[in-house]
């Protein structure tokens, strides 16, 4: 622990950190452009110069390791002059076009020029101009504004794992480019906009929409995948204008996936803003009382086993709890939250959680990925695997389709039976896992869906035993969920009750006419044609597959409009907060179910969200631990039995269109055309 003096303050700092970090620990602000905590050190912008006693000239604090007895000055005349000089040089070629720049108001260069620069420019000569680049539908470039900090190059290379950005030319002719025009084919490209300290890389969908000081900022949780990234929703009036990441080191660090960021324009289109009733085969606008009345007429007198409810991927825990309560009151055991039919074992919590935790990936030293494409299913989590890979000493094996995951891996095979070979110890990768200190199995939904799902889960469970995945202080058995609602639904037991049917059973029932009433709580990813003649109620926020099939449509709200608890794939309960008011006549989802229950004569025992949550926490105490993870007990689960040599069907065919919100988004459609269509060659219908 070296001792040093910073501006007269004596401070003891950990060895190996940089002078810049030490200055921050001492409470001194150091201006910087190229330095970024989560990227490698470049040391080329020179803005972080400080004075070190006995050094002949100012030092770049971001690149200087601390040493015993250092005396640093951050507020001396030398430092002030150095900063002014650096700032003057940076501004020589930077256009002074802040009034028409999208970064204005949240620009590092603008702020630091105000704080550390000269009051006016002495430069009268010509400025350089740089041609703009085409980076795809998400990142807009105005390269003349680039100050060549190279953050974007380092982000693309290190975090995103797509090594296509670089600096060509030299000196004044240096340009950040892909050289050969290439779009940034990464699910994390939106982060380039965040890390760019100037207005060179800005958000294309958000171009010229708003100034930061006009926005209302709401801290919330992302639901576009099961990672549960911390987000900030920026809204103005009744519109969500953009979504940015917040820092949560346990989950998303400070990154956010493109779908989570840019599907927001989908929140403005295809919305259900009033109830609808199917009259003569056509959905016609109706009033709330009429819609509830129609449901009551159909449900009254219907035996419970002829009713069913399916919860979708965006459902919050509260509304699922309310729906479960209502169905139980109506005497129906037919509940399921696993739209995709994944064989998660309701009785064993460890069978549906990412037990190693996301931050735990950094401890892992051998990872076996089965039936999953983490790059599409959880881009931020995949970045964590890449981060771990870059540290070195990580062995990765993949069973499933051969894909570019942004890190090298050993491809063990395409088919499910290879997992059986590893589980029995016959495959060489079993020894890799056995000999690792913290081995991990990442089990995707692609492995757990389909008729052999339970056997796959059982085989994976067996592998956990043979390869010693679960040890003291370590549980490497990690199920990667794709839906934000899934873990919450499992947690409150939104699964078939005794003698109840699961999703496959419900669809079989409706197809055969054994089920007459189906309640879809935002469930759009099931085969609607199999609902047969059943009376379908769709409660949700988008006019997607479910609403098109429904007999009654009840307009719920999207995650940006309600307070709701979501549990991420790790089992971390987090609360999403409303940024804007519900649209039109739409109501919060739990309140709709509460109103319906009263109409049906089975009034649910809560009148406010607080009362509901109290009941919810009593039934599922893990949901109460907001922000924390309650580790799952290690139990037996899954079915024993051989798995055949079948290929996996990964849950996501097109990253940019997986749910009602992203399917309604124009930006996501443009991304599909730019990134997915060239891969599959099937256009936007992937």
């Amino acid at each position: 622990m070296p001792k040093m003096t910073i501006d007269g303050i004596e401070i003891e700092v950990p060895a190996g950190i940089t002078v810049l970090q030490a200055c921050e620990m001492a409470g001194k602000e150091i201006p910087r452009f190229c330095y970024h905590e989560r990227l490698s050190v470049a040391g080329n912008c020179r803005m972080c110069l400080v004075e070190q006693e006995k050094a002949p000239k100012p030092i770049a604090s971001c690149a200087m390791p601390v040493a015993e007895g250092m005396v640093i000055k951050t507020d001396s005349p030398v430092v002030k002059k150095a900063r002014q000089g650096v700032m003057e040089f940076l501004l020589i070629n930077h256009p002074l076009d802040c009034p028409i720049c999208d970064q204005g108001g949240e620009c590092d260069l603008q702020d630091q020029a105000m704080a550390y620069g000269y009051h006016s420019s002495r430069y009268r000569e010509e400025k350089r101009a740089v041609p703009d680049k085409e980076f795809g539908p998400i990142v807009k470039t105005i390269m003349t504004r680039c100050i060549q900090c190279t953050r974007c190059i380092r982000f693309a290379t290190e975090v995103a794992g797509v090594e296509i950005l670089g600096a060509t030319g030299r000196g004044e002719h240096m340009e950040v480019t892909t050289y050969v025009e290439k779009t940034i084919n990464s699910e994390l490209s939106g982060n380039l906009v965040d890390i760019c300290p100037v207005g060179a890389l800005t958000s294309k969908p958000y171009a010229f929409i708003a100034r930061p000081w006009e926005l209302r900022k709401t801290q919330s949780i992302d639901v576009m995948d099961a990672v549960g990234s911390a987000i900030r929703i920026d809204s103005r009036g009744r519109e969500v204008l953009r979504i940015l990441p917040r820092v949560n080191d346990d989950v998303n660090e400070e990154w956010l996936a493109d779908k989570s960021r840019y599907a927001v324009d989908g929140l403005r289109r295809q919305r259900l803003d009033r109830p609808y009733l199917r009259v003569d085969g056509k959905l016609t606008p109706a009033t709330w009382p009429a819609a509830l009345e129609a449901i009551a007429n159909r449900v009254t007198g219907l035996p419970g086993n002829r009713m069913a409810a399916i919860a979708g991927d965006f459902a919050d825990a509260e509304s699922m709890f309310a729906l479960k309560g209502l169905m139980t009151e109506l005497g129906s055991p037919n509940l399921d939250c696993r739209q995709d039919g994944a064989a998660l074992d309701p009785n064993a919590r460890a069978s549906w959680l990412f037990n190693s935790t996301i931050a735990g990936i950094e401890k892992g030293d051998a990872i076996l990925i089965v039936g999953s494409n983490p790059r599409w299913e959880a881009p931020v989590l995949n970045a964590r695997i890449r981060k771990r890979y870059l540290k070195g000493g990580l062995k990765i094996g993949v069973i499933g389709p051969k894909l570019d995951l942004t890190y090298p891996y050993q491809h063990l095979g395409q088919t499910a039976d290879v997992l059986g070979q590893v589980a029995s110890g016959a495959h060489a990768f079993a020894d890799v896992l056995k000999n690792a200190k913290s081995p991990m199995l990442i089990l995707g939904q692609g492995a757990l869906r389909g008729p052999e799902g339970a056997a796959m889960l059982g085989t994976a469970r067996k592998l956990a035993d043979t390869c010693n995945l679960v040890r003291e202080d370590w549980n490497g058995f990690s199920v990667l969920q794709t839906a934000a609602a899934r873990v919450g639904g499992m947690e409150i037991g939104f699964v078939p009750q005794p003698n109840g049917r699961n999703v496959a059973g419900i669809l079989e029932g409706t197809a055969k006419g054994e089920i007459d009433f189906v309640y879809l709580l935002g469930a759009d990813e099931i085969d609607m044609t199999r609902l047969g003649k059943a009376f379908v109620v769709y409660q949700g926020h988008h006019g997607d597959a479910g609403a098109h099939r429904a007999d009654v449509v009840l307009p719920g709200v999207a995650y940006t409009e309600k307070s709701g608890i979501y549990m991420n794939t790790e089992g971390r309960a987090q609360i999403a907060e409303p940024a804007i008011e519900p649209l039109g006549e739409a109501k919060e989802d739990w309140a709709i179910l509460r109103a319906l229950s009263e109409k049906l004569g089975h009034t649910l025992p809560y009148d406010t969200l607080e009362q509901l949550r109290r009941a919810l926490f009593k039934a599922a105490p893990n949901l109460q631990q907001l922000g924390a993870i309650v580790p799952a007990k290690w139990e037996t689960f899954g079915r024993t039995g051989a798995v055949t040599a079948r290929a996996f069907h990964l849950p996501i065919a097109n990253y940019y269109m997986t749910d009602p919100i992203s399917r309604a988004s124009e930006t996501m459609a443009r991304c599909t055309d730019a990134f997915v269509a060239p891969m599959t060659g099937t256009g936007t219908h992937g």
Partner: protein
């Protein structure tokens, strides 16, 4: 000729090292430790330039593939160094030094002579593909200013007449001897040796 992606340049679709150059490339790569083969990027790009006279994008991609690097990392290197030609150059690539000593000794005239004689401007190639012309900064032969580098050789102590003669010779398919064109040896004093006269050998006459 750095500066990046000139879209007007016709890029060949493919590039591969000749068997001899491939063997040479392997020999160069073997100099570096395993997993550090990217260090060979400069010599390999130079080898590619030797083979086709310039570095087309396909050559950079080929080098990237051989060295297991991302192509952009090779582009960065190739565009950084001005000695890599990213566009085709003439069979004789004329580099007129224009830094102060040469400039004081008539570099401007050298450039003018080339332009007039060849009918091309700076950064241009003659129609027959024989000559290309650029101005460069200090070639490091200031004692023999003015200097023009033609391919790998320095032609020193030039005057317009001598330069025209050299260009004529090159056009006729003959390569005049390089070095000082004024008759002195190396960078010795213009009027002959002033010291060590007894051991200094007489200077060879100019080739004219």
């Amino acid at each position: 000729m750095s500066g990046g992606d000139n879209k007007d340049v016709l890029q060949p679709a493919n590039f591969a090292f000749t068997p001899e150059n491939r063997a040479e490339a392997d020999r160069i790569i073997a100099k570096y430790p395993t997993d550090r083969q990217a260090s060979a990027v400069l010599p390999l790009l130079y080898l590619a330039q030797r083979q086709v006279g310039w570095v087309p994008r396909a050559a950079m991609d080929h080098v990237a593939e051989i060295l297991d690097m991302a192509p952009i990392r090779v582009y960065e290197v190739a565009t950084f160094y001005t000695m890599f030609h990213l566009e085709p150059v003439g069979k004789y690539h004329l580099q007129v030094c224009r830094t102060t000593p040469c400039w004081l000794r008539g570099a401007d005239q050298m450039t003018e002579t080339c332009k007039k004689k060849l009918g091309i401007g700076l950064k241009e190639v003659t129609k027959d593909g024989l000559f290309s012309l650029i101005e460069v900064e200090c070639l490091g032969a200031c004692a023999n200013a003015p200097v023009v580098q033609i391919n790998d050789d320095f032609y020193e102590d030039l005057d317009p007449k001598r330069l025209e003669w050299i260009l004529d010779e090159l056009a006729a398919g003959r390569v005049p001897p390089f070095g000082s064109q004024s008759g002195r040896k190396g960078a010795e004093p213009a009027g002959g040796p002033t010291t060590l006269k007894e051991i200094a050998r007489p200077t060879g006459a100019p080739a004219e």
